[in-house]
Amino acid sequence: MRALGRPSTTVPLILSLILVPLTVVLAFVWTGEDVDQGFSQKIFYLHVPVALTSYAAFGYGAFCAAMYLWRRDPEWDLRSYVGVHSGTIFGTLVLLTGPIWAKASWGVWWNWGDRQINVFLILFLYYCAYFMLRFSLDEGERRRSASAVYALLGVGLIPLSFLAVRIAETLIHPTVFTSSGAAMPSSFFLTFLVGLAGMLSLMALLMAVELRGKRTAMRVLELQRAARGEDA
């Protein structure tokens, strides 16, 4: 179980300390105002990186779930859990920044007509349900494999939902990353990339910290049991 290495916290910590403030500086100082949207477009540098980061985290969670089902090492289960968990944390940020932008740009907090944001909501709910499933099962093998199977199913759900929506109709919610490249000025794009890197390091930091906490808690439990003279 200790076969997997300890994830570093220092590297992501340093990276996020540099990149996140840098994004803010770039966004407000370097890039110009958007012609259509004006100042409110600045939230782009938060909103989109956060959204992509949440996908990355869910993806990581699903990957670890698959590894768990293959290897049956509880460590992979913990990692999968931590991945899904930070995915929902970043997902919550998306659901905060999106509506703020929407209020500024569309005049409403939420547009029920837009499939894309609704689908994101559903995906978010899907992964919320992961926690319900996990915590209504007793700790042990069964909980681990059920959580893993569920996290893995998301791998099918995410692309299918987006496929369904993307090819179904025109959207209000913008799509800038098309097959012909990013439709925006290069300064915007660069800032966005820095923001994305910042968010990804923040995610790595979050996951490393939580993983450590979880491991310590497990260790404490083991020691408590050992102190009671129980071996398992």
Binding site: D138, E139, G140, E141, R142, E230, D231, A232
Partner: protein
């Protein structure tokens, strides 16, 4: 069938503590012990229905939980619950079992054995407690297992049924591995079997 330092934890309760037990092929072992000692837990671990928290439960050297189909084909477990479908008739229940084991339904053999000759086409939710238990035993033995795990098989049976059960167990002695949990202190002597005592999860 062997258990090696096998422990099972339910939440904070340790139901089985480092139980080590080896049952030789053809041997019959009777599990004794007070209520809550962990007899049922031990049997379910041996059957591979539970995964041990620590240690190993093995059948023919293979982990019981991952027992391949060939191994499971020679195994039978009857627990506190009948494992039958309440909405089906006795015949349908046995037929499903036979089907899953890739066998033809030998209804005459089974039903005669348990004395339910004329009730085969009744839905079992009208069966009495003892009739259910008989049917559960018929199901467990229908596919002639070489490893038989029984959890208090005599419960609910009348004198007749208990004789029948003793007969089945005696007949199986030497021919298959049998592990039987019971509250009947005389059973080991009656079967000429080894008695293993459990108490609060520990093998005494």
């Amino acid at each position: 069938m062997t258990l090696e330092e096998c422990s099972k934890r339910f939440g904070e309760r340790l139901a089985l503590r480092k139980a080590t037990l080896a049952v030789e092929p053809g041997e019959t072992v009777v599990l004794l012990g007070p209520n809550g000692a962990g007899k049922s837990t031990l049997l379910r671990l041996a059957a591979g229905l539970l995964r041990p928290t620590a240690g190993h439960a093995r059948i023919d050297g293979i982990d019981a939980v991952d027992a391949p189909r060939a191994l499971r084909a020679g195994m039978a477990y009857a627990g506190h619950r009948s494992q039958l479908y309440r909405g089906l008739t006795a015949r349908e229940n046995l037929a499903l079992h036979a089907r899953l084991h890739g066998r033809a339904l030998d209804l005459d053999g089974s039903r005669a054995a348990v004395g339910l000759a004329d009730r085969a086409d009744e839905r079992i939710d009208g069966f009495s407690r003892g009739m259910l238990q008989r049917l559960a035993l018929a199901r467990a033995t229908a596919h002639e297992p070489v490893l038989l795990l029984l959890d208090e098989p005599a419960s609910g049976l009348d004198a007749d049924g208990r004789t029948l059960l003793d007969h089945v167990l005696l007949e199986g002695r030497g021919r298959r591995t049998q592990l039987v949990a019971s509250h009947d202190q005389d059973l080991p002597a009656r079967l000429g079997a080894r008695a293993v005592r459990l108490d609060t999860g520990r093998i005494a």
